[in-house]
């Protein structure tokens, strides 16, 4: 049983990449996270996370087109890999297990579930 080490921010980044499917590159990921979660993301933190995820093998990247607005620099598109999918699924299932193990203290909680 493999252990999938995934930090909180990394998890969010991976989920965002999965959401964006074919359009996940630096700027778009950053905008997506910022709009959905209303939290500021620095380019540096994002790039580090992306790099680490790629080193772990959860993401893979390919080169995109260069545009003038990018001063001629190409884009780098990311995709979730199969191990990556397994990783986020695993993380989610862990969360679910934990949630279900909470004793029912109030009926509202149970209702939400």
């Amino acid at each position: 049983m493999k252990k999938y080490q995934l930090g909180e921010f990394e998890e969010i980044v991976m989920l965002t990449v999965a959401i964006l499917t074919n359009d996940a590159y630096g700027v778009s990921i950053k905008k997506e996270i910022e709009s959905r979660l209303s939290r500021k993301v620095s380019v540096g933190a994002l790039q580090t996370a992306l790099k680490r995820l790629e080193m772990k093998g959860y993401l893979k990247s390919h080169e995109g087109e260069a545009t003038e607005v990018r001063a001629g620099r190409p884009k780098r598109y990311f995709e979730v890999t199969v191990p990556g999918q397994k990783a986020i699924a695993y993380t989610k299932s862990i969360r679910d297990e934990l949630w279900s193990a909470i004793p029912s203290l109030s009926p509202e909680l149970k209702v939400v579930y």
């Binding site: 380019v43 545009t67 620099r73």
Partner: protein
């Protein structure tokens, strides 16, 4: 319209480009630019700039920063092995150049090591003694002397009086010396070199290690002695010498009890002795209390941080108080010299009898500077020769670069080569030093050795030093060679290294200037030395043997004389108080001419009547000493200088009028004659005032025997047999007067040897440098030579053309160096009262010689290039 800066803040953009990992750089930069232009649209340029800056700063984090280049070199070990291999292959393939380069380096390093050994030994003198020790010295300015003199002597009662009256002075000790005498213990006898008579405080003030005995009490009572371990062994063998008695025969027989044993005195101590005797053993109390007799040295221990200048200012009053009766205080000034400076700083101080191998500290510093200069020149040569061979390495550099070597790697490779060569040079240098040391030691009378290398730290430091030198010398060639562009070098194998070798030319000029300057100086030194040795000193010193007299033999010279003269190998015998050529004693005499009595101080020589005849010193006025007994003791002969001094107030009066005037230690004698001036001291000094007294009752210390020059060995044997028959238990110590005079000039001859050798070295190094230059230039002009040959130039013509440039350098060097050399020569030659003139032809000849040497050096290269086959050099066009 104002021009606005387009794009994001350039500084930060550049900063980002610098630190960002190359793999990520493009993408991130693209993202940043996209965001930037969006932000401009949304919030304006200013906000966009600010956010850009923030983002760049936040991007400065470990995940993004590129790995430093070093991290890439994970296989450094493998690269080093390659470097070693390549280095050795290169050395083997170009054995000639490699040998030349390494040899030059080794020579420079060897000389540097030798000089540093000498300097460090000199500087280590007396370093084991405590601080705050000083020696008391005097400046004597007596009437009758031509100049005042600084002397190391002091008066016996000064020490105790100083200690009592000045709280700054904690302690004192007096030291008097005597040499070369026999010591007996029962039936055993031994010969001790030098011993001191010292106060009991000596052992407490100085750090001489005591093996046996009590430092505080060993020399407190009269007739106590402390021996060094080797002296003790000489006398007593392996027995414990403590509490045994030793006897010393001189004017009086004295017996001492041994109260202690000291470790042998180390080489680096200004005081060298075999035994110490207690000062209180002196039988004659007047000697100890006498104000006016300067016959010993006084050493003082001062309070820490004492004010020397203030103390010295109090001395004149001190002297006046103690010497009020005799007026002597007018003629003396006392001054202090720190004990640790005595070895190096007392060159101007005379009558300095216990200053072992005194050597002027200024020369030591000079030598140190020279060592550094030589090292620098050797390194520069190394650089020159390495870059001169550039054509051969050019292809290698080109190939390595095109395969992917970075410039730093190549530089590193060449530096490794230099370091390896310098380590090899170090080994060779050490071998050279080992071979040179015996002659250096005998030249400098020191005992230098390479033993220091046996300890781990010095050995490591030396090796480290060689590595550092290798790196420093290798940097320039490394960067020069690694800068070749592959395209250029692979195409034509002619690197044409960019900048013209101006630096190199300057270096060669400097090298030649120093070599020529040294050559000129050494020629002058050698000639001055020869001049001093061969100049007629005014008396005949050939074939004279000087014999040391002592005690019994000194008081009865008439008998010895008659015995010796019986043999016809002996041409003459005379007795005197001291040997010519050493510093003779001085004393005060009275002179009563027509005016009032005058007291003067002059050099004194006490002799028997035959003295002037044996040495063939002419008496120009009056007469020589008479043989008759009645006249003994009253006859005085003065030299011309003294006569002039006596008549200094009456220049018109002729010298002959002095004959008959009363003169002498108590005005009891008369001047019977005036002798021609002769050099009784070394030619360093002008001739001082001298008076000669005929007094056979005097206990003479030296016997001068003139022998048959053609039968030296037999004459010596004859003298020896007479001596042994009369004084069998006194050692027969003799010296040829010629040898003695050579000794007097020994330090001069040492300096001249050293300078001559340094000249040779400087020329070798300069020629190496020139050789490198010539090779480099020859390489560059290969094509030019080829073309000229095709057009019909002769080998000789081309060789001349190639060499012409270098002769230019030598000429420039000469022009620079001539005034400098002239200035230097003038400086030191003035120190000799009698010196050779500074002749121009010496300068010219030196320059000419240098030109010839330079020609010979460059001719090899010139001829080689000139004879090259033009076909092969033009083939690649």
């Amino acid at each position: 319209m104002r021009k606005r800066k387009a794009g994001p803040p350039g500084l930060f953009l550049r900063f980002f480009r610098w630190f960002c990992h190359p793999e990520l750089k493009d993408y991130i930069e693209g993202d940043m630019m996209e965001l930037y232009y969006e932000r401009i649209k949304n919030k304006g340029k200013r906000r966009a700039d600010i956010k850009f800056i923030i983002d760049v700063v936040l991007l400065f984090r470990p995940g993004i920063i590129r790995l430093s280049k070093n991290m890439k070199y994970l296989n450094t070990y493998a690269m080093f092995r390659n470097y070693f291999k390549v280095t050795f292959r290169n050395l083997v393939r170009h054995k000639g150049y490699a040998a030349l380069n390494i040899a030059g380096f080794a020579a420079g390093i060897a000389v540097c090591i030798v000089i540093l050994l000498f300097v460090s030994f000199e500087r280590s003198f007396d370093n084991f003694q405590p601080d705050d020790l000083y020696r008391l010295n005097e400046v004597q300015a007596f009437p009758g002397m031509l100049a005042s003199q600084e002397v190391a002597l002091s008066m016996s009662p000064m020490g105790p009086a100083l200690k009592d009256e000045f709280p700054e002075i904690k302690n004192f000790t007096r030291v008097s010396w005597f040499r070369n005498y026999m010591v007996y213990s029962g039936s055993k006898k031994a010969y001790l070199g030098q011993s001191f008579l010292v106060d009991s405080t000596f052992l407490q003030m100085f750090n001489f290690k005591m093996i046996e005995g009590n430092r505080a009490t060993a020399l407190m009572k009269p007739n106590q002695a402390v021996l060094t371990r080797s002296a003790a062994r000489k006398i007593f063998g392996d027995e414990d010498p403590l509490n045994k008695m030793i006897t010393y025969y001189s004017r009086d027989t004295m017996t001492f009890m041994v109260t202690g044993v000291l470790k042998d005195v180390p080489e680096n101590s200004q005081m060298q002795f075999d035994a110490l005797y207690s000062f209180s053993s002196l039988k004659d109390p007047t000697l100890a209390e006498n104000w006016g007799g300067n016959w010993l040295n006084t050493y003082l221990e001062l309070q820490p941080h004492a004010d020397i200048a203030a103390l010295e200012k109090k001395f004149p009053a001190f002297l006046k108080e103690h010497m009020a009766s005799s007026e002597g205080w007018k003629y003396y000034t006392l001054f202090l010299l720190p004990y640790k400076n005595v070895h190096a700083g007392a060159s101007d101080i005379g009558l300095d009898y216990i200053n072992y191998h005194k050597f002027d500290g200024k020369y030591t510093d000079l030598f140190f500077g020279l060592a550094l200069i030589i090292l620098v020149i050797a390194c520069i040569n190394f650089m020159n020769l390495s870059t001169a061979r550039s054509a051969e390495r050019a292809k290698e550099v080109g190939i390595r670069k095109s395969i992917g070597s970075r410039r730093i790697q190549l530089a590193f490779q060449f530096i490794t080569e230099s370091v390896i060569m310098s380590l090899i040079a170090l080994v060779i240098a050490l071998a050279l030093v080992y071979l040179m040391l015996p002659s250096v030691n005998s030249l400098s009378q020191r005992n230098l050795s390479l033993d220091f290398l046996l300890k781990p730290w010095p050995a490591i430091l030396t090796a480290g030093g060689a590595v550092v030198i290798g790196i420093l010398s290798g940097i320039y060639p490394a960067f020069y060679l690694s800068g070749f562009q592959p395209v250029k070098v692979l195409k034509s194998a002619n690197p044409d290294g960019g900048s013209r070798p101006v630096l190199r030319n300057v270096l060669v000029v400097i090298q030649f200037s120093s070599a020529i300057c040294l050559m000129i100086n050494s020629v002058f030194i050698v000639r001055q030395l020869n001049f001093m040795l061969s100049k007629d000193p005014g008396f005949d010193k050939s074939n004279v043997v000087d014999i040391e007299l002592n005690g019994k033999s000194g008081s009865n010279t008439e008998e010895l004389k008659t015995e010796l003269l019986k043999n016809n190998l002996i041409k003459g015998v005379t007795a005197c108080q001291d040997i010519l050529g050493s510093h003779l004693d001085q004393s005060t005499v009275e002179f009563r001419g027509d005016g009032p009595k005058r007291f003067l101080t002059a050099t004194r020589l006490i002799v028997d009547p035959d003295y002037l005849r044996l040495y063939k010193i002419p008496v120009i006025y009056g007469r020589d000493f008479s043989e008759s007994n009645s006249a003994r003791g009253n006859e005085y002969i003065i030299n011309e200088t003294f006569a002039k001094e006596l008549l200094s107030d009456e220049p018109g009066r002729p010298m002959s009028s002095l004959i008959g005037d009363r003169f002498g230690f108590d005005s009891t004698g008369t001047i019977i004659g005036i002798a021609r001036d002769f050099n009784f001291n070394s030619l360093h000094n002008k001739i001082e005032t001298l008076f000669i007294n005929n007094n056979v009752q005097y206990r003479f210390s030296h016997l001068s025997v003139k022998i048959d020059g053609s039968k030296t060995a037999e004459s010596l044997a004859c003298i020896r047999s007479v001596w042994d028959s009369k004084y069998p238990d006194q050692p027969f110590r003799y010296q040829f007067l010629d040898d003695h005079f050579n000794e007097v000039y020994q330090s001069d001859s040492q300096v001249s040897s050293i300078v001559a050798r340094l000249t040779l070295l400087a020329f070798i190094i300069s020629c190496l440098g020139l050789f490198g230059l010539a090779s480099y230039s020859a390489e560059r002009r290969v094509k030019e030579v080829g073309i000229r040959k095709v057009f019909g130039a002769s080998v000789a013509g081309i060789a001349v053309m190639l060499s012409k440039d270098f002769i230019k350098y030598v000429m420039v060097a000469s022009v620079i160096t001539l005034p400098l050399a002239w200035f230097i020569v003038r400086q030191w030659i003035r120190n000799y009262a009698y010196h050779i003139p500074i002749s121009l032809w010496i300068f010219l000849v030196s320059v000419l010689a240098s030109i010839v040497i330079a020609l010979v050096t460059t001719s090899y290269q010139a001829v080689k290039s000139a004879s090259a086959n033009p076909v092969s050099s033009l083939r690649n066009e």
